[in-house]
């Protein structure tokens, strides 16, 4: 139930992200444009030029520099945001680890896109998966409306956890898809995100500190152990902040996973981002012909909600896991590998079938979704398939 009449705006994923950033009014934004997330900073720079935000906007010469500026500003105590995609995220790679280990709550919107070569500007999760071990939180959104609200929640989650957070959406499919977005007032956003209370500030001359110092065999290990503990603790923070947001504004956004038609389901499909929309439609239609299938959409991929997945997936006979990325390990996609690892301690566990789909923006059609559901249904009945199946490919 909605608590109030929210202002509805027709926005693309990029516009929704930029609009949320405007309402958050961060202290610093440093960015370098890259398809398909260019618009976010392009629109935001207009807000800066028109004096609609107080943000110090730093147009840099590369993504590596963008993240470096974000790190410096965040270490000074500023609220910092940026956006990137694909090669840009890859170029930031070394700085991502520095942001997370210095415990800087930078929020970055990512328009997920394939990595070269061959060069491709369309959606897949290869870029995000390259950052999955960087210590950043990663929240994947299904549509522009979710992007808008997640960007606002991510600021609070990141600043409470003192960890950086990526808010991700599928390139073009979501970044450029226009949809109705229910927006909050500027004041409501401000009241929700409040002021950042930093862990430390390098500008605090009363208490001078050193950050990022040389840390060898005597302390590096202890510092990493502390960092992983912070990621563990972030799980509770994510749940709390999402709950607070839902209660305050009358929404039902998932913290870690969204369940669709799982209650009486015998088989299940697991997916992230926009593919979940197609699968929901396919599930509705397949259920009419008696196939009892449900969907679990993973919203928060980092920290990985293995406890929830272990609990929710154990009851199914067969589970299909949709990966929009390859690991090139020959073991399948990253999501399926982590789900298999999550279920490993169970004595009785479902058969996990991995599907790789949509690389380089290859369309994931309703027919493809039907095909996936039929395969999972066949597995339930005992049919065997290759460990990894490629959906929507010309064989």
């Amino acid at each position: 139930m909605k608590l109030k009449n929210l202002k509805k705006l027709a926005l693309t994923g990029n516009e929704a992200a930029a609009y949320a950033m405007k309402q958050i009014n961060p202290d610093v934004v440093a960015a370098y444009p890259i398809t398909p997330s260019t618009e976010i900073v392009q629109i935001f720079s207009k807000y800066v030029a028109d004096g609609e935000v107080d943000t110090e906007f730093v147009p840099v010469e590369s993504e590596h520099s963008a993240m470096s500026v974000c790190i410096g500003a965040s270490a000074a105590g500023a609220r910092v945001m940026t956006a990137t995609a694909s090669q840009g995220l890859a170029l930031m790679h070394e700085m991502l680890y520095i942001a997370s280990s210095l415990r800087l709550p930078i929020v970055m919107v990512v328009g997920n896109r394939a990595l070269s070569a061959p060069i491709n500007i369309h959606a897949d999760h290869s870029d995000a998966m390259g950052s999955r071990d960087s210590g950043w939180m990663q929240m994947f959104c299904e549509n522009p409306n979710e992007v808008y609200h997640t960007v606002i929640m991510a600021v609070k989650i990141a600043e409470k956890a003192n960890l950086p957070c990526m808010v991700e959406m599928d390139g073009f499919i979501t970044t450029h898809e226009m949809e109705m977005v229910e927006t909050l007032d500027d004041k409501e956003v401000q009241e929700f995100v409040k002021k950042r209370i930093p862990l430390y500030s390098v500008l605090n001359v009363e208490e001078p500190i050193t950050i990022g110092a040389l840390d060898l065999f005597d302390y590096y290990f202890e510092h990493k152990r502390g960092q992983v503990e912070a990621v563990f603790k972030a799980k509770k923070i994510i749940s709390e902040v999402v709950k607070e947001y839902n209660t305050k504004f009358g929404f039902n956004f998932p913290d870690f996973v969204e369940e669709y038609e799982t209650e009486d389901a015998e088989i299940c499909v697991v997916a992230m981002s926009s593919a979940a929309g197609t699968l929901k439609e396919a599930i509705d239609l397949k259920r009419e012909s008696g196939i009892k299938i449900g969907l679990i959409r993973i919203k928060t991929f980092r920290p990985f909600p293995y406890e929830i997945l272990r609990e929710r997936l154990r009851k199914f006979k067969a589970v299909g896991v949709m990966d929009r990325a390859e690991t090139m390990s020959t073991l399948g996609g990253p999501l399926s590998i982590e789900i298999k690892a999550s279920l490993y301690p169970l004595d009785k566990k479902p058969v996990i079938q991995n599907f790789i789909f949509g690389l380089g923006g290859r369309e994931f059609s309703l027919e493809d979704a039907f095909h996936v559901i039929e395969i999972i249904e066949n597995i339930k009945k005992g049919k065997k398939y290759d460990d990894v199946l490629y959906i929507g490919i010309r064989e």
């Binding site: 210095l102 510092h223 502390g226 912070a230």
Partner: protein, 93 residues
């Protein structure tokens, strides 16, 4: 010094109570160290200026003591001295 466990460390690997450099004895790995011939020294202070580890101290505009526990034996002071008042000698290991 007893090393702290991971729970005792500040978050973000920050270092408080800076500077901590005086605790870090950079002189532990040298093979040579300067021997100072005070009688030759003109107190031009070039060695003081050039020493990368602030080993050489000055008092009343004159060279005072060498804090050799910080000397890493680079030999810059000996090289820069215009009157050869500094001689690098092997350190007994």
């Amino acid at each position: 010094m007893k090393l702290k466990n991971w729970k005792e460390l500040p978050e973000g690997a920050i270092i408080k109570n800076t500077p901590t450099s005086p605790e870090f004895k950079t002189g532990e790995w040298k093979t040579k160290e300067p021997y100072y011939h005070a009688e030759k020294c003109t107190h031009c202070l070039l060695c003081w200026l050039y020493c990368p580890d602030s080993v050489i101290t000055v008092k009343n505009k004159k060279i005072d003591v060498f804090l050799l526990e910080y000397c890493k034996g680079c030999g810059i002071c000996a090289k820069i001295c215009p009157v050869n008042a500094i001689e690098m000698r092997e350190v007994e290991l």
